[in-house]
């Protein structure tokens, strides 16, 4: 694109000073800026300081401009640029459909002020489109990029090198292929969100049923039936285990202190921190 810009900057002198068309307001069609009143086409190129940009209100007979004429005009204008294209068949090839995807083809197309007079001009445009879509296909349309849940960017277990990797020889645990879920019940109007003035106790949540009554999780009552157990016998993952046979491992906060100390029903000093699980 930078090369094309460079090429374009050199052809920008074709516009008369102060008369660069502005399509936001109104711009004349290109045919109105190529002819001089004397109908001497070559004058346009040989005398570039003259009025290249002339408003001619009469329609030009574009059929008079053959592709061969165009090429000869370009050569006259800048012999060095076009000298490599003296093989006329190559020139024709540049504008053929086989030129799709050729960046240089696009660049020359921009340079040619007659590109839209030529019956081949559509090929020039087609090239641009072909190039764009071709690139897109490679970059964006890989059907395996985002449709295969186990696709891993081709890095094996490495998703982002140096950051994440699975343990060698392990298979992705199925539990790691899950949507990021949020607690949607925290949205919507809340029945209370007023701050408490007295200091609150330690944060506790206890199991409750739909009637907001405490439910012993060991009993299959209410809506807190025991969840399906998962076999952990050979699990070596680093997690705590909680022994309850004699002394609870961490009975640091008891429900009684919770309900007593932070009941909002009594003095209103603190809202209950044991939410009803209605609907869940």
């Amino acid at each position: 694109m930078a090369a094309a810009a460079f090429g374009l900057s050199s052809c920008s002198t074709m516009y008369k000073s102060g008369q660069t068309p502005d399509d936001v307001y109104y711009s004349p069609a290109p045919q109105q800026r190529v002819a001089s009143s004397s109908n001497n086409d070559d004058q346009y190129y040989e005398d570039s300081d003259q009025d290249e940009y002339v408003n001619v209100q009469t329609e030009q007979d574009r059929s008079a401009y053959s592709s061969e004429d165009n090429y000869l005009r370009m050569k006259v204008r800048n012999r060095s640029l076009w000298s490599s294209l003296d093989d006329y068949s190559y020139y024709g090839g540049m504008y053929s459909p086989f030129g799709y995807g050729s960046g240089f083809g696009m660049g020359f197309g921009y340079y040619n002020p007659y590109s839209f007079y030529s019956p081949y001009s559509h090929y020039g445009i087609g090239m641009g489109m072909g190039y764009g879509w071709g690139g897109l296909y490679n970059g964006f349309y890989n059907p395996y990029s985002f449709y295969n849940p186990y696709y891993s960017y081709g890095y094996g277990h490495y998703y982002y090198p140096g950051i994440i990797s699975g343990k060698p020889g392990t298979v992705r645990p199925s539990a790691t292929y899950r949507p990021r879920t949020s607690n949607l019940s925290t949205y919507g109007n809340r029945s209370r969100n007023s701050e408490i003035n007295s200091s609150r106790n330690a944060p506790v949540r206890v199991f409750r049923n739909n009637n907001n009554n405490y439910v012993n999780p060991r009993n299959s009552s209410g809506n807190t039936s025991p969840r399906s157990s998962i076999e952990r016998s050979n699990d070596s993952r680093p997690s705590r285990t909680f022994e309850r046979s004699n002394t609870p491992s961490a009975p640091r906060v008891s429900p009684s202190s919770n309900s007593g100390g932070r009941s909002s029903g009594g003095g209103g000093s603190a809202p209950s921190r044991a939410p009803g699980r209605g609907g869940r």
Binding site: C11, T20, P30, F146, Y177, P179, N183, R205, D235, N258
Partner: protein, 520 residues
Amino acid sequence: MRKVFITTGLVFSISILFAQEPLDAVRYSWLTPQGTARAQSIGGAVNALGGDITALYTNPAGLGLYKTSELVLTPGFTFGNNKATYRGSMATDNKSSFNYGPMGVVWGIPSYKASSKWKNVSIGLALSKTANFNNNLYVSGQNNQSSYSEKYLDQLIGGNATNPDDAALDYPYGASLGLNTYLLDPTYDGNNNLTGYASNASVATGLKQQQIVTAKGGVSEFSIGVGGNYNDVFYIGGSININTLKYVRNSSFRETDATSDANNDFNYFVADDYLRTDGTGASINLGIIFKPVEALRVGLNFHSPSWYSFKDTYYSSLTTDTEGYAGVKSQSSLDLNDGYSGEYTYRYKTPIRLGAGLAYIFGTQADVSSQKGFITADVEYVSYKNNAFNTQDNTNQADKDYFTDLNNTIDDVFKSAVNFRLGGELKFETVMVRAGFGYYGNPYSNNYFGNQPGDVTNASRMNISGGLGWRNKGMFVDLAYVHQIIKDAYYPYRLDEGVFNAAKLSNTIGNLLLTLGFKF
């Protein structure tokens, strides 16, 4: 009345803090339009104006006004300043990044038949950044009402985690980390029956809460479009857009004991979360422009949803210091998942946008010296309720149910908004002076804020812009500065019950854009 959308009663056993949440939808849809420096400096109000490559991204009928051809390059630079007020405390952060507007080509192709009413057809293609997620946010405040760790408790109770041993493994992105680092403990009654769970965070004596969120990424949009000109009166156009999205977010939430007591079994915890979302999407834009008189243009446009396929990658870690209780403990979700991050692919759809515009041109002759300027205005309607997520794999009923609940929540907490844009240009033959304004309405309904909306309900984005242009010798150079003022709200965490607070955000973003163009 609090609304709870649970279609099946199913509660996920895996749940994390950076969840698929309604806020994701706002991030991807509450966007201000990007464009060339010229379009940006007039507030982005180019719906009815046309003649600028930005038409690909707004009203493609504007391509039909091109009778000449041009190549456009638009590099840019963005610098943002964020101010977050959370529980009475204010914290600031900033972020700078490179940016770019449309880079592309428009070909104006005149009709071959002089007698044809279709005067010309124009084709454009461009690549542009249409969203910039680069941002740093710092939130800080004192809290004696709730702890971030109560999210973990909600997870455990909501997940009916009646076996603490299982719970220490089943919530690798949240509660399990809390249990294994001794931030959380199970609670028992006198008969050693499990009653619930408790956090050791010392809310009673106060907590200092801090969060740093670093976000990167954006949306790059490749667009190819065509516009036709019927008799210099009626213009019609369409474009096809391919979007690539990347969003990378690192969050670190720290909660520290506000006292100097070294014997209360809590010093601090730090919860780190990483999320990367990659996506590709496609959309179409359609539009018409009508000129009832030569100087007046009326534009209408339609933006289809962008249909995306997203892939998330995420992991979390937690470090807790419970002083004399268990000391400093640290664990990552990778430890609990054999080194694997969480991963998921799903679909997302942005809302439809409908727009209308008016433009009045002072000087519509081909002679540039007679072109004196223009004024232009747009209005746009978008319903953020119509954001929608869906599963990629329709066979997983549990996932489908979650996305149904998520979409219902989006419908409840977002609303429709009307956006306005206004701009103008004065042209002095080769030099142009421009100014513009844009206002983008509040996407949140009051339900987003619960019953204590306070002063954060009026979220908005306002763009004030200005610019200069020079056009001569077949080239044009445009410079724009857009000053964006954003009012928004951010919840560091949300809880089932009790007090949780929004941080009120007052952000400013400066955008500097340069457009280089070449006519050919």
